[in-house]
Each structure stands twice: as C-alpha cells, then as structure tokens.
Amino acid sequence: MLKSFLEGLDGLTLECEARRGQACSLKDLEALRVEFLGRKGKLAAGMGALAQMGPEDKPAAGKKANEVKNALTALLESRQAELEAEAAQDALAGFDPSLPGRRPAAGSLHPVTLAMQEICEVLTGLGFEVVAGPEVENDWNNFEALNMPPDHPARDMQDTLYVSDTVLLRTHTSPLQVRTMLSRKPPVAVIAPGKVYRRDSDITHTPMFHQIEGLLVDKNVSMADLRGTLTAFVRQLFSADTKVRFRPSFFPFTEPSAEVDISCMLCGGEGHVAGEPCRVCKKTGWVEILGCGMVDPNVFRSVGYDPEAYTGFAFGLGVERVAMLKYGIGDLRMFFENDVRFLEQFS
C-alpha cells in the first residue's frame, strides 16, 4: 500500500511537470493549481489514503506527501514566473519610445539679446555696471558734449535721424557717457547697452541696431588698461587664444582713438581655411570688432570733470556684428524680419 501510495504521488509530480507547459495564461495556471493542490485536488485526494496507513508507514508517506506538495508548488511557481515574464514582455512590446513627447511650446531669445546678454555678463564680471538711457536724445548729449560741435565734419560719420533741430534718435550709445558723468562723480565704470539709429540702410546697414558702450574714468587710467580690459573681454566672449590688434583711428570723443581687430575666429588668423580664402576676415586674418580710445579732455570739460585729475577710456561695439560672428549669421537684414524659422534657431 505504501508503495502504490508513493508511486501515485510521484505520478502526480510527473503529470504536473508534463502539463504545466500547457498553461498559457495565469488563468490556466490557476486552474492547474486547483486541480493539483486545491482542497479537492489530486494531492488532497491522494492524501486520503494516508489516514488508512499504519503508523509505521505514516512518517515515510507523510514526508513524501510534503515533498510532492513542495515540488508541485515549485513547478507551478516557476511556470507562473515564466508567464509573468512573458506578460511583461508583451506589455513592453506595445511601448513605443520613439513617439513624440508632449513638448511644451519652446521660447527663444533673439540672437541680438543672446549676444547682448553674453557681452554684458562678461563686462559686469569685469566690474562694470549697466546703465540705461533714452533713445530720443538731445543734440547736446549725442554730439556737442562729445566734442562734435555743429558743422563739424565728424558728424558726417554718423548720418542722423532727426526729430527736430535739437532732438534726434541717438546715433550711438555714447550719450550715456555724458548722462552718467553728469550724474556721478568719478570713479565711474559703466556699460550702456541699447538701440541706436542711423539714417543708413543697405545690405550692411540697418537704420536701427544695437551697441554697447563702456566707460571707465578714474585717476591714472591708461591705454594699457583699455587694452587689458578689451583683451580679457574678447577672450571670454570668443576664445582664450583670441588676439587683439589696436589700429589708430579717429573718434571725436576719444584721443587717442583706436579701432580694435581680433584674430579671425573662423580661420584662427591664418587668412584661409583648408586652402580657401577665409570668408569672414577676407584673407586678412583680422576682424574689426570695436572702436575705443581715451576719453577726450573736451568731453571731461563738458561734463565738469577735471581732465588734469582724471583720465578714462571708452569703447563701443555693435551687437549685431558680434552676433553675426558668433552665430555665423550672414545677412544683417534677417535680424529684424523676425521670421520664426530664424528665431527658433536660437532656442
């Protein structure tokens, strides 16, 4: 009796092992579990014989019954794990990571703003404060106080849009030099970003553009300080190996005056790229970027600073020019069309 009992139990294990593969779902598997391990299942039925066994057989039979129960449980659990893994696989099969995300609308800054922010960041980092002023200006602030009396040929350098005989759209951010010095005592270290206007419109000029003016006034400021400031500035703005070249020039409100070239960022000052003439610097290796100089004593006089006690430097640069160089924009007119296909490139 014991023997047939034991064989019966082994048979259960074999049968379960054979059939569990047919359970293709967790539902099938549950049915199988009930069939074998349920209260009225095959194991329970087999165990009925246990009660009729003699005490000498019971331990062995009981032990066997336990082993078979564990074996059946293990078989079914392993199948369950398999089925769960398969189900998880199936669920992932329907997951498409390549679908577009629910992207919030993207905004972007205008490239002029981008360049302007970058320039201001560098210069405020060097210790300059940002000041602002009106775009409609008096002739005195825009010209006369800057050593450009009426009928001075230097006025030809800037074609002016006038509102009246004495009021105009500022032709440069330099009137901020005047306004700042009139309202503050030295030392002064300011930058003035903003819109400026000229009566000039062609492929390389727009009637409105953006400038940033810098002004440092203190005791013993020299042109070496100017050169150092601008060198630090262009290195941070462009790259650490950017070289600076000072060319003598003329601005009515600075003396001496210089135009500043930097080594071309495209060809690295070589003048050519892969054997072709460089299109950015036109083979010269240098790119003109700003104008600067030592504040003219006449400017100090017009704002009531003592030119014997103080010296200073001023510089001004065009923001569109920087944006064109930095972002490779070829056509100036694109800046003010505000075509979104242009704007979105600066996200």
Binding site: L109, L126, E135, D225, P256, N338
Partner: protein, 812 residues
Amino acid sequence: MHISLQWLREFVPFQGTVQELAERLTMQGLEVEAIIDPFEAIASIVVGHVLECADHPDSDHLHVCSVDVGGPEVLQIVCGAPNVAKGQKVPVALIGTTMPGGMQIKKGKLRGVASHGMICSERELGLSEDHEGIMVLPETFAPGKLLVDALGLEREVIEVSITPNRADCLSVLGIARETALGFGLPLTMPALNLKEDASAGDANTVVRIDIADGELCPVYRARALTGVKIAKSPDWMRYRLIAIGQRPISNIVDVTNYILMELGQPLHAFDNKLLKGGVIRVAPATPDQQDGQSITTLDGQERKLLASDLLIWDGERPVALAGVMGGANSSVSDETTEVLLECAIFRPGTIRKTARRLALPSEASYRFERGVDQVGSLFALERAAQLMAEVSGARVLTGIAMAEPKPWAERSHGFRIDRCNALLGLSLTPEFCKTTLTGLGCTVDDSNAANWRVTSPPHRLDLEREVDLFEECGRVHGLDRIPAVLPRISKSLDSVQMRDTEFGFLQRLKAWAVGAGLREAINYSFVGTDDLDRLNLPVEGRITIANPLSEDQNVLRTEIAPGLLNNVRHNLAQGNASLRLFEVAKAFVEDTTSDTGARENSRLGMLVHGARHSQEWPWEQGEADYLDVKGLVENLLAHLRLGPASFILEPAHPYLEPCVRVEVAAKSGVRLVGRMGRVQPKIADAYHARKDIWLADMDADLLRELSRATKPSFKSLPKFPPVRRDVTVICPATLHAEAIEAAVLEIKPKNLESLALVAVYAPEGPADGKGERNLTFRLTYRHADRTLVDKEVDKEHGKVLSGLPQKLPVRI
C-alpha cells in the same frame, strides 16, 4: 582717397612693396581699404605693328590689316577706323580679351574676311572719350609689348580711408609725409620752376583782391595767365588722373585737379575775359535784395543763395560759390585764352554749410570743410601756374594779386612726456618723442625737460592740444605695442548699483517669456504713419522723424503692437502659420515736460496666433484664444508676485475687440498694468491673418515699479487636512465667473481657505449670451489648529448653497 604708388614715389623714395606700404599706413591710422590695379581691364592689350593695310574687297570703309603682335604669326585684323594706316603702332585686343565695356573679342568674319582681334580706340580702352579713330602709339613701341607697360601706366593704387581729422592726408603729399615718417625716409617736394613773363604784364594791374571778412577767407591769391590754348592734357597727366579715378577734361581744368590731388589745395580757374571790373571780391551772398539771389553753377544748375553762403564776386556779380563750385558765367571753355587762377583758403564751417545745404559735395568743398594748409597754399599756386604754362603754352604774368587779412598764426602747446607715458601706458623716451614730433613737422623746444613747447606745422590743423601730440607719439610708436594690463576698478560706496536695474528687469521679463514658450522679436522703433493709422491710434502725441529714410519709417511707435503685427504678416507670407511672439521695447509719445520732448515707456508685447500647441501628435488641436493670452498674463503677474489682478472689459478700444484691462491692486492703489484682447478682425485682415490674433501689451516700467515692492514671504505649511466640497452653479451665460466667486466670498463661509473654478459646461447652442452654463467651483475648507469635522463644514457649505441663489440669478 586713391593714391598712386608711382606718384607717391615722386615725393618719397619708398622702395618696398605696395603691401608693405598698405600695412604700415594702416597701422599708422590711415586705413588702406584696397589695393587696386586701375588698368586691370586693359592689362592684356598688346602693341601691334600694322605691316600692311589694304581696303576690304567688299566694303567701302573697312580695312584688312596685317598686324605684327610680336608672336610668330602675323595676324589678319579687319579694322573700320578711317585713320588706320600701314606702319602705325596700335593697341590690339587679341582673341579672348574682355574689353573694359565687357565685350569679348572673338575670332570672326567681317563681310567674309576673317579677323583675329581688334585694333582699339582710346574710348574702347577707357583712356579718353576719343572714338574718331584708333589710338596711334609712338613709333618706338615694340610689337608684342603689353600696352600698360609701353605707356608706363600706373598699376598700383591704394584706396585709403581718411578719418575726418586728417585733412592733411587728402593728397599725395600728405600720404607721402606719412610714408616718410613711417619708413624713416626723406620727403622731397617737386622742384618749382615757374617762369614769369614780364612782357605779359603784372597780375596786380589786371585784378585787385578785396576780402570782406578775414575770418571767412584768411587769404586769397590769384595768378593771371595769357595766351592759353585749351587742349587735351598730355598723356602722362591724363593717365595719372584716370589711374586715381578722375576724369580728364582739358589741360587747364586737369591741372587744377592734378594739384588738388597732389597737394590737397583746391584751385579754381576763371576765364579772365569773362570777369568784369578788374576786381575779385570775397563776400557773403546778399539775398535780401528783391527776389532773393541765385547763381548758376558750372554744372548748369541754378542755386538759390542764403546770406550764409560765401561768394566770389567780380566787379559786377557773383562768379563762384566760394570753395564749392565755380559759376557758369565765368568758367573756362574751349575758347578761353586768359585765365585767372584762384588759390584761397575759406572758413571750413561756412563751406560745409553751403555744400550740405545745396547737396553739392565736391573734392574742393570736402577739403575746405576739413581745413587746408594756408602756408602751403602758395606753393600749390606756383606749381599750378607752372604746370598750366607747360601744358597750355600760356605765359604767366608777373606777380600775385592777393589779400591776406588773416595770416597764419603759429600754434604751440605744452608737452609733458610723463603725462604722455601715463596716458598711453608706455615708457617712450624723450629721444623718440622728439624725433617723432620733429618728423611730423613740429618745432620742439625742450629747454624745460618736463614741459616742452611744441609748435605744430600749418598742415596739421588737427594738432590743437597736448593730447593730440600724445596721440601722435602713440600712433607712430604703434598703439598695437601698448601692453595689456587689467585695471583695478574702484567704486564709491555711495554709488554702488542696486541689483534691480532697468536692464536687469527687462532681461528677467525676457527670461520669463522664453520659459512661457514665446519667441523674442525685435522690431524697428519707427514705423510708418500708416501702421499707426491702421490701428486707429491717436494722431496727437506722435513723434515724427523729420528726415525719414522712407514713409514706412517716419514715426516712432506709440505702442508695441505695430511691429508685432508686421511680424504676423511677414511670417504668414512665409508659411509660418502659428506664432507665439514677444517683444520688449520702448513706445514713444510726446511729452513736453521731458528734456527730449519724448516719454519713453518700456513695454512687453505678447502675441499668439493660430494653433495653440504644436501641430504634432499628441497635442489636442485647437486655436489660441482669450484664455491663452490671459494665461500668459496671469502667469507673468504671478511670476512677478503681483496681484490680485482684475480683468475688466473695456467698452471700446482702437484696435482690440474684446479688450480687457489688466489692473493690479498695489500699495499705491489700483494700477493699470496693461491691456489684452483680440485684434479686430478687419484690422487683422490687413495683416492677412485669417485666424484671431490675440495680443497683450504690458507696461514693463510699471511692472518693475510694482514688483520691486514685493518679495517672497514665508507662511507655515498647514498641519491639518482640508475638506473639499464642490458646488455646481447653473447660471446665465452673461454672468461672469468672477461675480460668483465674489458672492461666495461675501457669504464669508468660516474656514474657507480657497476657491477654484474646476469645470465649465456650456451646452451647445447659439453663442448669443442668452443660454445658460454650469460652473463647478471647488471650495477648500481648513482649520489652522485642528481637523474639521464634516458637520461644521456642512453647515458652512450649506450657507453657500443657500446664499448664492439669493444673491445672484443662479440655481445650484
């Protein structure tokens, strides 16, 4: 300013290359913008020798020539010129040559006879207007030689950009001085060899000079020439003028231009027979006579005169606009035999005013405006008279008729070398500074080592002050050799800048807008009057531009909208159908209390048009509407910690409909921070927008003022749970949500923490405002110190349920 290298070398023995010269001049402050070969277009023309010249068998005017062009083969060329003849040396364009006019020379047949090139006229070569026949060259020219070499044409010309302060460099002489300085070379002036002819008389018996005001004309000199024969100038002079871009006219006029270019002194030649009364008077115009006053200049234009214009008069009438242009009544013509040659100096400001007012800029006025060397002018007169005699066969009368009411006064300045070095950041030696200043033509008195006395030369009118001399020392040493030092930036504690600058705030607005998914536009500050009229904006208060570039840029924008709306038009035309734009910029209106007459107000404009979201899946599709633009405004106000805000429908607005005022409660009272709404469809049509354009125009200056008064303030987090109750209100569609919220707050239910609209249901139907809609509000109740029990919430919420229908025409 174009300078020929060959001409320059007559003044300074510079042996380097044109590139070396350009580099040096540029680094000395005379920017060389280009190196030009003025005769590039005829560089491949060769000298030919006409060996045979026969009549064309089939034409009465063509000739068939055999021309030796130096090669192994003699070319057969058909030529139509009447003057072609055997034995001539002629310029020949070979097959493949492109002529200055763009014509390409090809092998061809003329009336059946093959022609292998073209024999050229002067006009075809751009050397003169002469097209009577072919150009005949000197017999000594060797066949096959390049024409440009055979003629000795100048091949190297530099184009120099001269800054307004360097009037002295507007001549070959001026550039030669800089070249001599830059390369340490001597400067040689041309030898003066003027032969006066006593038998011709004395200039002072012909004319007397009378200057009304020495300030306007410090010196006027004239020489008289007789027996002038007007003709073409000699080749060398014509080619030289052509090389620097001047058009040769006739020998007398060419000499005045030649001297102008060579020495920078403008001259004028009168036909002396046409001058009356034996006097030259320099005096302002007198338009106070009846009918004003005018002069016909030699270009045939009649010019109305003002009292500020300086004129040259003869005994009877004005004969020239001083320093600007000669008069037609006294100009040199082909019949001229007597010449009065004027060499004068005029006040720069006067010349500039006249030239600008009459839009008559000339090479002469350009130089007078900037200042001409008064001392050097005598040399220019003498050299011009000499050249005129040489090229026109004229005899020069003895003497110079002149008046010099204001002789040149030397100017000297102090020069402190210590200060020079301190300003430049250099350590220049006294030797260097002295050599440099002397090299510039200054006289240096260094008996006081610390403070020299430096007298500047008469051609350097720009050396007016000590600092100008500093610049010269720096420039000649090389500004590029100044070391780079970072300055110590010191600040006064009193003027330390606060962080919330105008610039900083506007950048903050921009950063917010980018986060809100808007793209920044930047538009011109000016628009056209039409742009403002289209939006029905008031005419009063506009600031117009007196000299606009065009009609669509003639007025400053009084609001931010016109620019953004123009961007809609542009983008729609490009097929960009959905727009979310913003702009931060100033609007301008007249304000008589401002020192500039303008009030400038920074605005933040926001515009949405077309699809609300990306057109891509999975966004649900929908078009931007009021709630989109309002959401932006609400988000902005929250970002700036402003509020509570009210949104008030305006009965009328010039271009928005509906238009909603945005008001914010602040300490200073209720403030209008902006408006928003939909651009009236008729106006939107004008921008080709078929969908609604929603726009918000916010006052950035006011937002800044209000937001700087706010700061984040911490409140403890609630410790006890809230109880939420929803209430759905059925109300007429005309009743605003705000009114219901206000009514709930008026009921003052205890422990009500917040109130939010969570659902709106409007049954389908005509949108005429007559229907009803359901609004569901969620009320959150909370007690700060304990957990609320249902019963007490029910009681308070019950007050709301029963109270609302009493206050408003609603059902619950």
